[in-house]
């Protein structure tokens, strides 16, 4: 019997020993695609600025170099390259309301006042191409890379606009090192031992296209994939369409 207890002790010690890393906390980012403050459901129609109806078929982007700043002002690096794909998740209201969970890795105990990341991939990664990565990772997939630019496609926003008379299948793809910016957002995060924490990333797709007084004429420019002015402006609106809570 004595031996039995010894065994139980050994076993629990082993289990405890194995699970030790779980004591540190994890940070999740819950991504909520929206349109004018409403949950964005792929394939569903929303009013565009000019009275047309807009629907989205694709919304995806890389989110890279995530870091958080602690009370001492130090930046703690979290996950390096993440891929967010809303079309395979926000296909009904329930999912759009729940948000798409993205694990950003482990975060040490402490208080944090900022998070920063970039939409796209940093130059050190953009100088590579899918053949440098496993085909099962986002960076290893040809459709996330544009051989003509020698660049990863940082973001894709695609869909359909129609007013009953005109119709435009649109696709806006961003890329190139010049478009990649790391932006900082204020947060208030208190991480205590063993407790997982999460932040909300809200992305209002209406704001990608401008505002009531000035908006993209999608019928005029339905397909843009380049690093020119159009996409530079589009991505600067993309960054401001993004809020962290």
């Amino acid at each position: 019997m004595k031996q039995g207890w010894g065994f139980v002790f050994l076993l629990s010690w082993m289990v405890w020993g194995c699970s030790e890393p779980d004591d540190s906390s994890r940070l999740d980012l819950n991504v909520f695609g929206q349109y004018a403050g409403q949950p964005l459901v792929m394939g569903e129609k929303y009013p565009y600025f000019d009275g047309s109806e807009i629907l989205f078929t694709k919304s995806e982007f890389f989110l890279s170099e995530v870091a958080v700043r602690n009370e001492q002002g130090e930046w703690i690096n979290l996950s390096d390259v993440n891929f967010v794909n809303l079309q395979n998740h926000h296909f009904n209201t329930e999912n759009a309301q729940k948000g798409l969970r993205l694990g950003l890795g482990r975060i040490p105990e402490g208080k944090y006042s900022s998070i920063r990341f970039g939409i796209g991939v940093p130059a050190r990664i953009n100088s590579k191409s899918p053949k440098d990565f496993s085909a099962s990772s986002a960076l290893g997939q040809g459709d996330h890379y544009w051989a003509g630019w020698d660049s990863y496609i940082f973001s894709k926003t695609e869909g359909l606009l129609s007013d009953g008379m005109q119709l435009a299948n649109f696709a806006y793809h961003s890329g190139f090192d010049s478009i990649y910016v790391v932006k900082e957002y204020p947060i208030s995060l208190n991480v205590t031992e063993g407790n997982n924490v999460s932040l909300k990333l809200i992305l209002d797709h209406r704001k990608f296209f401008g505002a009531t007084n000035e908006f993209v004429d999608i019928y005029q420019d339905p397909i843009i994939h380049d690093g020119g002015d159009f996409m530079t402006q589009f991505m600067s609106r993309f960054n401001s369409a993004l809020t962290i809570q």
Partner: protein
């Protein structure tokens, strides 16, 4: 009878039964056959990345050889009339050159056979609609499909266990110790290993040009610039968005405008939608590889186009509207001369050097 003698009797019965089974060929001990796994000398096309890893099914020389036997052996079909290779022939880039394949019962399906070249690089599912997650799960399907091999796995397993040669091949490939360990899962793993050696592309003129070993003529160059949208002076052909380098295919699913549909249910073949249930996935299909397209006609999931010219006409003149029509095929404006230049570029994606690997052919 004492307890002891009863025990002896039971033991004797067991031995006799085991022996009987053995005679039937199911329990045969294979441990006297050497099991010495070694790597298959695989050469991936030089412009590609590493093969996606499959930790559950490491590739070995003998695994590939077993898969090769199974792939070409009509033993997998109910009436021994067909094998995988009936619909996937090496000389047609492992398609069958028909719009719809015919199975053992003479029934035809509603989809065209697919090229198996570079199939190892697809990471988001097998078949036109991706309904099978991996090559290992895919290989289980044709055997029981009534419009393909139309047999049953329990029956095929029995045939393989009784076969004079297969037990040895399974032993060499997977180290099994008895015939009874021959299962459908191991057969599927072996066929997956075999299909992973079906690679092409590294000796195409396209890749030679990338490496500075050859130069494109002006038409090929213009065609490539349209394919990848790199020349503002030429119209975009957008092909490179879906048939992406380096494999010239994509693991993803798209609606490339074959049929018009107001709502998802309107698509005659639901494609990816039947697998995911996501409305926008209806009418989406896998963007297959364009390496060796000259061998895969007729084209598309239903083989509706006989020639590459018809394919180009489709993309530039006849794309049909649907809510999920991919924007990249919605507005292509290429004149005949430009279409021909894209075709000139497509011809640089021909690489038949895969036919020089003797291991891809029938061992029989």
């Amino acid at each position: 009878m004492s307890f002891r003698s009863l025990s002896y009797m039971i033991l004797a019965c067991l031995v006799v039964t085991a022996y009987a089974c053995n005679q039937e060929g199911d329990e045969g001990d294979l441990r006297n056959i050497a099991y010495e796994p070694r790597d298959y000398p695989l050469v991936t096309p030089r412009s590609f990345g590493p093969l996606p890893e499959s930790p559950d099914n490491p590739m070995t020389y003998d695994g590939v050889q077993l898969g090769r036997h199974l792939f070409y052996d009509p033993i997998l079909s109910s009436d021994s009339s067909q094998s995988c290779s009936s619909c996937h022939k090496p000389e047609f880039a492992f398609t069958d050159g028909k719009a719809f394949s015919t199975g053992v019962t003479g029934q035809t399906g509603t989809r065209s056979s697919m090229s198996l070249l570079n199939v190892a690089y697809f990471t988001k599912g097998m078949f036109w609609d991706g309904r099978s997650a991996t090559l290992e799960t895919q290989a289980l399907e044709p055997v029981e499909n009534p419009i393909e091999l139309h047999d049953s796995w329990p029956n095929v397993e029995k045939k393989l266990r009784k076969h004079p040669k297969y037990p040895e091949l399974f032993r060499k490939a997977f180290g099994i110790s008895s015939k009874s360990e021959i299962t459908r899962d191991l057969a599927a793993k072996a066929m997956a290993q075999f299909q992973k050696i079906l690679l092409t592309g590294g000796n195409s003129r396209y890749v030679k040009q990338l490496n500075g070993e050859t130069f494109f003529d002006p038409d090929e160059q213009d065609g490539m610039e349209m394919y990848f949208n790199t020349n503002p002076a030429l119209p975009d052909a957008q092909c490179g968005h879906c048939h992406t380098a380096p494999t010239f295919s994509s693991s993803d699913y798209f609606n490339n405008g074959l049929d018009s549909a107001g709502k998802p249910e309107d698509f005659k073949d639901p494609g990816r939608g039947a697998v995911t249930g996501i409305p926008l996935d209806y009418g989406r299909f896998k963007a297959t590889t364009l390496f060796n397209w000259h061998l895969t006609a007729p084209y598309m999931h239903d083989g509706r186009f006989a020639t590459i010219e018809e394919v180009m006409d489709h993309y530039t003149l006849h794309v049909k509207q649907a809510p999920n029509l991919d924007p990249n095929v919605a507005n292509l404006k290429l004149n005949t001369r430009q279409r021909n230049k894209v075709i000139a570029f497509l011809k640089t994606l021909i690489d038949t050097s895969y036919l020089q690997n003797p291991d891809i052919f029938s061992p029989f």
